[in-house]
């Protein structure tokens, strides 16, 4: 079996044999980011000066064996990078320029990665289409009349087009896996507590997790080993050893038990997506995996549970944006409360307001028990479904999304219809388990289809191994029409 070179590995080879330099690689990435931004709007800030300065420093210093030395990377604009903006796709932040780095960013920098820029996203990561950004939607490079998915749409597009080999996004209900599926790349949402969230602007704290995009599972494995692990600045990170995920990729899936919840392949699922995902699952059987039927009876309630818990937590987390300490402040407000209200009215977009209000409602006096407590109880049932399923299997296969990329504007007037995009992804966030999406085919219209695996806590290694094995046996060589 030939080993398809990972994008990172290809750059490493060029750096090692002297056919390229960190400066040349960074320069190309920045040029491409600027050039493609006119059509795709994937970046909100491109740091040419910073990237080239760091690249020159790397070229002038001896190779200290850093694993991501000279590798360009893009960061979602809700993750703090010192010196660059952090707008979260919102006008309310001004934009804000954080005085510190997120822990994940510090770890990437220490490993030699070069940050090319900050990527566009749905405002405060709320959305499944990237149409909720205050700075305009990101466009899908496979078809610019379509959405790239969201909320980490800019990061997904930066990787899908080949501007950067890898990028960081964030997930609360599928915001890495869903755009990865719609853009034809790999996206990983790790276990809750795997990657520090210090410096990630909070949306829903019991669900949020930083995720990674790449064109291959191998590239994601390299980045995950760098950014994962305990952080004293994030009390939710767990003291669990970080393996060398790349070294553990054996391509051997023999004996891995893949569970298939057949009830999730019914109503609402596009026929082409179903066929493609079922065919991919069959391929795993041919590779030696064992396919078993499982049940996740409470999955159908996940959107209802998710939109209670996520909005409740968001209404609390977003209370801090009040025009006092940073970002935007509305003018013409002679009194404090009026200043808060006008700042928030002018600063937040419609979807963020809708979710803050929904969250405020479900937490309000007299409704807390009926909504929030009830949702947390059903969350327990969803967790128990997974615990039971993982007695019978090592990973669960489903589609990542019910359809391929939809048209810009197609679902913007119907929030509930938009929320149903997360039906396959948000259970993993509710249960705190990891999930991965990988491309498994194209529709007749030439749009990518995503296959999703979720696994038990801390099973990122198994998920990456499954994705890598498929990459090796069924290389996804199709590329978007807009690329570098």
């Amino acid at each position: 079996m030939t080993t398809p070179l990972s994008q990172i590995e290809a750059l490493r080879v060029k750096l090692a044999d002297g056919t390229s330099t960190a400066h040349a690689i960074a320069s190309t990435a920045v040029d491409n980011a600027e050039k493609l931004n006119e059509q795709l709007n994937a970046f909100l800030e491109i740091d040419r000066a910073g990237a080239l300065l760091l690249a020159t420093e790397l070229d002038d210093s001896p190779d200290a064996g850093q694993v991501l030395r000279g590798i360009p990377i893009a960061i979602k604009d809700n993750i703090c990078v010192r010196g660059l903006q952090a707008s979260c796709g919102s006008r309310v932040l001004g934009p804000y320029h954080p005085p510190y780095n997120a822990t994940a960013v510090d770890r990437l920098s220490a490993a030699g990665a070069i940050i090319v820029g900050k990527t566009n996203c749905d405002e405060f990561a709320m959305g499944s289409s990237n149409e909720n950004s205050a700075f305009g939607p990101v466009r899908n490079p496979w078809d610019t009349t379509r959405v790239p998915g969201g909320s980490s749409g800019g990061s997904a597009v930066a990787v899908a087009t080949g501007i950067v080999p890898v990028a960081l996004g964030s997930e609360t209900g599928g915001s890495v896996r869903q755009p990865a599926a719609l853009c034809g790349i790999v996206g990983l949402k790790p276990t809750y507590g795997r990657i520090s969230r210090y410096g990630l602007v909070a949306f829903a704290s019991s669900l949020d997790q930083i995720g990674i995009f790449g064109r291959s599972a191998r590239d994601i494995a390299m980045v995950l080993s760098v950014v994962a692990g305990r952080d004293p600045n994030d009390s939710t990170t767990a003291d669990v050893a970080v393996p060398d995920y790349e070294k553990d990729l054996s391509r051997d899936v023999k004996g891995i038990r893949i569970g298939v919840p057949r009830e999730l392949f019914g109503e609402g699922l596009d026929d082409e997506v179903r066929t493609s995902v079922e065919r991919a699952i069959e391929s795993y059987r041919e590779l030696g995996a064992e396919i078993v039927d499982i049940e996740l009876p409470h999955s159908k309630y996940c959107i209802a549970v998710y939109y209670i818990i996520a909005t409740a937590e968001a209404s609390s987390n977003l209370a801090r944006f009040d025009g006092v300490r940073y970002g935007f402040r509305a003018e013409e407000a002679p009194e404090l409360r009026q200043m808060y209200r006008r700042t928030r009215d002018e600063g937040f977009g419609a979807e963020v307001k809708r979710r803050i209000m929904l969250g405020t409602y479900v937490l309000s006096s007299g409704y807390y028990e009926a909504y929030y407590r009830k949702a947390q109880q059903v969350r327990t049932l969803i967790k128990q479904d997974f615990q039971k399923a993982f007695e019978k299997c090592d990973a669960i296969a489903t589609p990542t999304t019910p359809t391929t990329a939809f048209l810009l504007g197609e679902k913007t007037d119907d929030p509930l219809e938009m929320y149903l995009n997360d039906i396959y992804t948000c259970t993993a966030n509710l249960a705190g388990i990891p999930g991965i999406s990988l491309p498994c085919g194209l529709s007749q219209a030439g749009l990518p289809i995503g296959l999703q695996f979720v696994g038990n806590h801390w099973s990122e290694g198994t998920l990456l191994k499954l994705a890598d094995a498929y990459d090796a046996s069924h290389p996804f060589s199709a590329r978007p029409s807009i690329k570098v």
Binding site: G193, L207, E335, R342, Q377
Partner: protein
Amino acid sequence: MPITESDIEKIAQLAHLEITEEEKRAFTPQIAEIVAYVEQLNELDTKDVEPAAGGLTPEGEATDSSRDDIARPSLGQELALDQAPDPASGHFRVPKVL
């Protein structure tokens, strides 16, 4: 109980949001539809089910989440105020409260 425009007004006030008449008309049916949708949870009998505390794994729960109480350098006044919309004399200035 269906959500009305006056409910939306009250919620907006609680959330410190000043919404326009137009927004109120748009949000009312949308939020009412979402609330009706989430009420499908009432089909489930959860009398004996413990509410989940959050997203933590057993390993996360077992991890000591406190760090040693050691003084470390902080941002400092200048940097902390650097992004404020209206800093004044080393403080955050706000419009009058009363």
